[in-house]
């Protein structure tokens, strides 16, 4: 038997289904690189228009599918990763309109569309994505509702049912979601989480903006114009002064004349010895997702927190890429001495310069070395003094040529941290002082609402570390010599919100503070929740650790309680809006025990008379009440509004007070 053809969707419903699909795709597209998103969106719209009247031939659909997948793969450079996967999903989804003609198709469209918000959340967990994603999911559910209505009514033209308004539909869906919410929350907090993933987490193939293990000219400018928050820190105890807030990230050793990179070969070596001073900071970091394994820490961390490893230059590497928000408890300290004995291989790495670059710088360094003799510190001071005297800070820099350090030091004498740190390190190395570039963030913004510090991408910074005999590695920030206010966030125009969304509005800072605090709370409460937090969840109540058996018991308890709650909520039925009617129905229900409940078709007075016959003792007051009720309900021409309300309330009270008992009226 051939499969019967499924009924075609009428155009209105088809349009709604496609619209719901598009709304699910939208947040995902926003997270993809612009060009890819544009291609997919254009393809989706084009295919939607082409297939509006009649289906596309299946051969054409196949060709389109292959073409679109090919385009996306080429645009991502065949790099396979989480984001490429999402892009492919979006591309396949863009073809869906060409095969959505029946009820069944529409349902499968909606089903697949629900993956849209899901994929979005894998890429980004910001407020915009969350809002759009949830709205899209709601929309998809309300379309499912519409489809179920169509299904139960084979001939919509003959439908006697009044069409629901969009608002009513949304309300119905909101009701369903609200009823399901307690269960969802119970599962969310109590369902045992995985402490390690079941399968490897594919990384993003296309880099997310952030610190990288590479510093090439101009790369930092993008970061420095990005006001996105990259980390939040809450100190337990004292916080360092802003001028000491150096969030140390990738340490760059290798210079090829143009870009600084992190060497791979000695990353596996154990962390260099460090003697910490008396001051120290105890703090909790909340790192926004970066998709790299490395994250920054304040100055030098004393030890690696669980789940991480320290590299030789005290970079902190997590075991997995930080694809979602992560939280770390750290202790840091400024070092008294840091790697006072430098191994020969490292020393050579910290002195190497590419040959054939920057001859003028090399000459200057040789001259300084000759004049200073063995005093490395004097050379450092001299360089800083020169920078302080002759250089200016600007983000508007010309493109530098082959001898970039020469051009910066002798010709332009203007630039930003990238130029200062790079040139300074080259100068030091040329003078025979081991030196390296450190990238990270400097400064921070204190949010008085919530009492924590936040660091934005625009705080990205690069500085230098030089190795001095007896002290080891010492931090030197040549940029700070020129423009400390640019670095430490002390300028008024660098305050959050100054150039952003609320730009120019005086008093926008409190608003920003509050919104970031809310964001942090959301991060804290929802995004950062994981297996270890789950185990510590009941600490405030004296339960130190929830092992999985306790957790499962709790989960089962709460889940069944919420299920019962769901059943109760659902079965309550819709509440009558009119208080008089409500009281009247309750009154008639009270007669059920006496077997005298009002029949659905029975008028109020007829019922009262019937009751009077059976129970003369109750009849009198019931008759009076029914008379009142009928008068109120059917007599037109209400007196003044206020009076009417009083009358109504009086009637409701009287109806409620009437309680029939087995012998006479109970008082």
């Amino acid at each position: 038997m051939a499969k019967p053809a499924a009924p075609a969707l009428e155009p209105v419903t088809r349009r709604w289904a496609l619209l719901a699909g598009a709304s699910c795709l939208l947040p995902l597209l926003l997270q993809l690189p612009l060009q890819i998103a544009a291609v997919i969106a254009a393809a989706g719209v084009g295919i939607g228009v082409l297939s509006w009247r009649r289906p596309l031939p299946s051969a054409l659909r196949l060709v389109l599918l292959l073409a679109l997948i090919g385009t996306v793969l080429i645009m991502t450079g065949f790099a396979l990763g989480r984001d490429t996967g999402c892009a492919l999903l979006a591309a396949m989804f863009a073809l869906k309109p060409s095969e959505t003609y029946t009820l069944r198709d529409a349902r499968s469209l909606i089903g697949f569309a629900l993956f849209g918000p899901f994929a979005t959340f894998l890429l980004d967990q910001g407020p915009l994505s969350l809002t759009l994603g949830l709205a899209a999911a709601m929309f998809a559910l309300s379309t499912l509702q519409r489809l179920a209505e169509i299904e139960s009514r084979p001939d919509p033209l003959r439908a006697s049912e009044p069409a629901q308004t969009h608002w009513q539909r949304l309300q119905a869906i909101g009701r369903l979601v609200a009823i399901g919410l307690p269960l969802a929350l119970a599962v969310f907090w109590l369902f045992p989480r995985l402490s390690s993933p079941l399968w490897g987490v594919p990384e993003r193939a296309l880099a997310r903006p952030g610190l990288s293990d590479r510093m090439s000219p101009g790369e930092m400018v993008d970061l420095m114009n990005d006001e996105t928050v990259t980390l939040r820190a809450r100190f337990r105890g004292a916080a360092p002064p802003t001028s000491q807030m150096y969030w140390r990230g990738p340490v760059l050793w290798n210079f090829d004349g143009r870009a600084w990179t992190q060497p791979r070969w000695f990353q596996g070596l154990p962390a260099a010895p460090m003697r910490a001073g008396r001051t120290g900071w105890d703090y909790e970091l909340e790192v926004e997702p970066t998709d790299t394994r490395q994250f920054v820490s304040l100055d030098l961390p004393r030890e690696a927190p669980p789940g991480t490893r320290l590299s030789i230059d005290h970079g902190i590497y997590a075991e997995r890429a930080l694809t979602s928000l992560s939280r770390w408890r750290l202790q840091s300290a400024p070092p008294v001495s840091y790697e006072p004995q430098l191994r020969e291989t490292l020393r050579r790495a910290a002195l190497s310069l590419p040959s054939g670059y920057n001859p003028r710088t090399l000459a200057l360094a040789r001259r300084w070395r000759a004049e200073a003799g063995n005093n490395d510190a004097a050379i450092v001071d001299r360089a800083l003094a020169m920078i302080r005297r002759e250089f200016v800070y600007t983000l508007a820099t010309p493109l530098l040529g082959r001898h970039s350090v020469d051009e910066f030091l002798f010709d332009h004498k203007a630039g930003f941290c990238e130029h200062f740190s790079s040139s300074f390190v080259v100068l030091m190395r040329a003078a025979g002082i081991p030196a390296r570039v450190v990238t990270g963030y400097a400064g921070g913004y204190f949010n008085p609402v919530g009492n924590y510090w936040l660091v934005r991408r625009s705080d990205a910074h690069a500085w230098a570390e030089v190795w001095l005999q007896g002290r080891g590695w010492v931090r030197v920030d040549p940029t700070a010599a020129v423009a400390p206010e640019r670095i430490y966030d002390t300028l008024a125009d660098r305050r959050p919100g100054a150039g952003g969304l609320f730009g120019g509005i005086a008093g926008a800072t409190p608003l920003f503070n509050l919104s970031d605090w809310l964001r942090r709370g959301w991060n804290d409460f929802v995004l950062g929740f994981d297996a270890s937090r789950q185990q510590r969840m009941l600490q405030p109540f004296g339960i130190d650790r929830l092992d999985s058996s306790k957790l499962i018991t709790l989960f089962v308890l709460f889940a069944s309680a919420t299920l019962l709650w769901m059943v109760w909520l659902s079965s309550r039925g819709e509440r009558e809006r009119d208080p008089v009617l409500r009281a009247w129905r309750r009154l008639s229900r009270r007669y059920r025990r006496l077997g005298l409940e009002r029949e659905a078709h029975e008028p109020a007075l007829a019922w009262a008379e019937r009751v009077t016959k059976a129970r003369p003792d109750l009849g009198e007051s019931l008759l009076r009440l029914s008379q009142h009720f009928s008068d109120w309900r059917y007599a037109g021409g209400q007196p003044g509004r206020r009076e009417a309300r009083e009358l109504r309330n009086e009637l409701v009270r009287a109806l409620r007070a009437h309680r029939p008992g087995p012998t006479g009226e109970r008082r």
Binding site: R104, L122, A172, A184
Partner: protein, 338 residues
């Protein structure tokens, strides 16, 4: 109807001839579901006789959510996890809502105007429920037993009815199959259904013969006449009334009396028609029944009084009118099948 078939596709599987085993399994499942035997109406759907199972799409939705949950747990991605949970919660709530669409519903009566066998019988299913919940778009069908089209039941102010059309083949009592009242609302993820199996059978009249001899001429005692404008015998004259045909005016008589008079005619309608089983001895049982059924209808149409005598039964009539016709056709319908 196409919608029915599509539903069956999405359902746990329509009855396809290839899957005999499936049909057997389903029959077995049906024998376990309540009610297990015909019942007296009204039948109230309580939670013991309401069944809820996910539809095909519901299973797909569940698989989708399971994938999402697994992925979200693996990536420890809380927004994605919450999304999956919210969708799951809404899905579960819709299961409950589907069940509640039926809970508390009573099928209070089922009736049908009898029709001759071969014509579709329109069966009205009357339902009642407390008006506290919107109950719309409930589907009433027979779960494939007789292959009847589904009807839609909407409750308005706590009452509503659905009209099923059931094909009829045999005269006599038509035992209703177990009827299924079902809904996939609100989200189409699950189908909630309950069965009602009314024990009261419905009557199907015998099929009247298509072309047969005319009514036998009546030989009864009380011949009746009826006034008829086109009759042959003038009965009497009466005063003109507005609307009388002009050619009915008796001009001569009117001229004599100075007022318009109109002739009224009468036509003899013959005697009571005798419809007797024994007179049709040349025919088979069914042929006799269908001829008598036709004569009953013709006699009724012509306004004759008629009498029906069947073997082993008291004679019906003479009489005329709907109730007499019903009594005659009922008696014919309930003749033993030969």
């Amino acid at each position: 109807m196409a919608a029915t078939q599509a539903r069956d596709d999405l359902d746990t599987g329509g009855a396809r001839p290839a899957s005999r085993r499936w049909i057997a399994l389903r029959a077995r499942m049906m024998s376990l579901t309540r009610p297990r035997r015909p019942e007296a109406l009204p039948a109230r759907f309580d939670r013991r006789r309401i069944y809820v199972l996910p539809t095909g799409f519901g299973l797909f939705y569940g698989a989708l959510l399971a994938t999402m949950t697994l992925g979200a747990l693996n990536y420890n991605n809380n927004p994605a996890f919450l999304l999956a949970l919210l969708l799951g919660g809404a899905g579960l709530a819709s299961l409950i809502a589907a069940q509640l669409q039926l809970a508390g519903l009573s099928i209070v009566a089922i009736d049908a105007e009898p029709v001759p066998a071969g014509m579709p019988l329109t069966v009205r299913v009357h339902a009642r429920a407390a008006p506290d919940r919107v109950r719309r778009g409930l589907r009433v069908d027979d779960h494939g037993a007789l292959g009847i089209d589904a009807a839609v039941l909407d409750l308005e102010q706590g009452a509503g009815e659905a009209e099923l059309r059931i094909a009829t083949e045999r005269r006599g009592w038509l035992d209703l199959p177990r009827l299924r009242v079902s809904t996939t609302r609100p989200l189409g993820l699950a189908r909630a259904w309950a069965h009602v199996w009314p024990e009261a059978p419905l009557l199907v009249y015998p099929t009247p013969e298509a072309h047969g001899p005319p009514l036998p001429v009546g030989g009864g005692d009380q011949a009746v006449t009826r006034l008829h404008p086109s009759g042959d015998d003038v009965h009497h004259l009466r005063a003109y009334r507005f609307g009388d045909a002009r050619r009915a005016i008796a001009w001569k008589h009117s001229a004599r009396r100075d007022t318009l008079l109109v002739r009224e005619y009468e036509q003899p309608l013959g005697a009571d028609v005798e419809l007797e089983w024994h007179r049709l001895s040349g025919l088979g049982q069914e042929a006799r029944i269908s001829r008598l059924a036709r004569w009953v209808d013709e006699a009724e149409r012509d306004g004759c009084r008629y009498r029906l005598s069947l073997p082993n039964q008291p004679t019906l009539g003479p009489g005329t009118g709907p109730s007499h016709r019903h009594a005659c056709l009922r008696a014919l319908a309930l003749m033993p099948h030969g």
